[in-house]
Symmetry: C2
Subunit: 344 residues, 2 copies
């Protein structure tokens, strides 16, 4: 498994995107998002996604040139049309609007339709965090998850993400696991996945990686996971006027555009209390969690964000290990757009 330095990986991915026709500034924004996910250990949302983006671009199914456009802005609400642009560029733009609006009137809620895959939601919610705000980001996704009691995909992994100034960061799919975890097992020839992750294509629970890859993800905790996924679908796709449920494509499927919708909400903490007080309260709350005696089999209590921050510190220092299967796919993508393989 090669270990790649952040700078090297960044230059390589930017070159691949530019080779596929993406303007330099957008290639940089997109790459920063992907590499940050690898840095945080969220490999499912890192450079593993790039070969799919290249497929979309070379197939002419994603427009690297459009900036999207504001449909309407009214009070704390902004409606955005991504115009099938790069998901990361849509997200960068929408986060800017949400932060600006929250500064002006306390809350900014931006709903974007006709967007594309934007990497890990956490990267975008962290933009609000950097602005001293609470960021909430959601998006719909390919309909690979059956609703509770059903046996055909109807909703996506539809993540819920929240970031804020303080030692806590939530970014979770509303399925037991993100699809990327199954993709990663598949690309790297792991024959088995844990129970509870997936159904096969007949709606029967499976631990066979190949069957899971062709099958469906399980909603988190059964009917409640379906409810949360619908909440996301509504706040993104229904409210945004975008593609819903089976109307949504996916980065693995050619011959159609992805058409995902996203919701970006920024909340100005200072409307409720000084930022320093909020951050101190967050630190106190996290301390209260960590003071919990650990359950048999564990030696500490972690909160959302802890595992990723720990991995980030290590990978910043030592580089990012890229699984062989992922590296091969990246090199192949580079070859398709005439980019020489980066030495590792």
């Amino acid at each position: 498994m090669p270990t790649v330095q952040v700078e090297t990986l960044t230059r390589f991915c930017e070159a691949i995107l530019e080779g596929a026709g993406v303007p330099r500034h957008k290639a940089q924004v997109t790459t920063a998002c992907l590499v940050a996910a690898n840095l945080r250990g969220v490999d499912s949302h890192g450079i593993q996604l790039l070969p799919f983006y290249v497929d979309q671009l070379l197939a002419g199914e994603m427009d690297p040139h459009t900036d999207g456009q504001v449909i309407s802005e009214s009070g704390s609400c902004l409606h955005f049309d991504g115009q099938n642009g790069l998901g990361q560029w849509v997200a960068e733009t929408c986060c800017g609007h949400a932060i600006r609006m929250a500064r002006a009137q306390g809350i900014g809620m931006v709903v974007a339709k006709e967007s594309n895959h934007f990497g890990a939601a956490a990267w975008w919610a962290l933009k609000m965090r950097e602005a001293g705000q609470i960021g909430i980001v959601m998006c719909n996704a390919s309909p690979i998850v059956p609703p509770w009691q059903g046996r055909e995909g109807r909703v996506g992994t539809n993540p819920i993400c929240m970031a804020l100034p303080g030692p806590w960061l939530l970014d979770m799919a509303t399925t037991t696991v993100a699809a990327g975890k199954i993709f990663k097992a598949y690309f790297n020839q792991q024959p088995e996945i844990p129970a509870g992750w997936a159904f096969d294509s007949d709606g029967v629970p499976t631990t066979d990686t190949q069957k899971a890859y062709q099958g469906m993800l399980m909603p988190l905790g059964g009917y409640k996971g379906s409810g949360l996924a619908m909440m996301v679908e509504i706040l993104c796709a229904v409210l945004g006027g975008g593609a819903m449920s089976t109307e949504v494509g996916g980065i693995r499927f050619r011959g159609r555009t992805v058409r995902v919708s996203q919701m970006y909400m920024a909340i100005d903490i200072a409307r409720f209390m000084p930022l320093e007080e909020f951050t101190a309260r967050m630190e106190k709350l996290v301390g209260m969690m960590k003071s919990t005696p650990s359950a048999p089999g564990y030696d500490e209590v972690l909160v959302a964000g802890d595992p990723e921050w720990r991995i980030e510190a290590a990978r910043m220092a030592n580089g990012i290990p890229i699984a062989d299967g992922n590296w091969d796919l990246l090199v192949k993508a580079a070859g398709r757009v005439g980019v020489a393989t980066s030495p590792v």
Copy 2:
């Protein structure tokens, strides 16, 4: 098990609250919330709660007279101090503010601290629905749930609720089940509860109702449920400046006030699309869910809200069945405040 007509039950509960010193208009608002939960089949959040409220009132640990007060209002954000008033009265007031603010600037976000139990969150999100808005309601609760990998309670069941104009309504605890389901089993002498609902007081999974009643609830799906509960705790208690985690009391515990915090968000749909279009899109999305072939063992796909609306129609027609244990507790509460038992 007696079956009680809505009107009879309503008059009886209003009389009990008035007997405990609650002004008439607040007794009406509180009772309407509780009886609506029973009507919808959510007995855990219905009149089962009333004897606890009476305990709090008679102990002088909840103030039936205060109306609470606005701490600040700025743009789309309002900060409210419930001043230990009746939770339903705080909620009624805060929903009014949220709806007004969403009409004025697209979104109204109200965070209330120092509140009390407000019944089912759904009743309050439905206020926004009636106003043609999306309503999102959350609250923190007694710290009876351990964080992931811990074995002492640190957060509550911290529900997430969303309502909107359309055939869908989500109201879910971020635990596998709401605490009320375990209370109901306990009050009605059911010896066993399903696996996955609760830990005993040592942090070991249990199906013994008595041990579960004295123990802790399980977070939904493990670490993700803990993350969602923290999201709620942050948006309610951290942002509201209220009691956090173990600082929160509970309706079952005397000698301290409850001190829960709540978040009420209203979103004006018309800022994104005409209300009729949104409702039509919701109906379409729900139709897409219901078109899913059902999994083995089920004969249809339901969405959030379906079971409750079906029960509501039946109970409206036939009256509300009240379990014997719950009825006895209600009659005892009536006796304590000098109210004659309603004939059933």
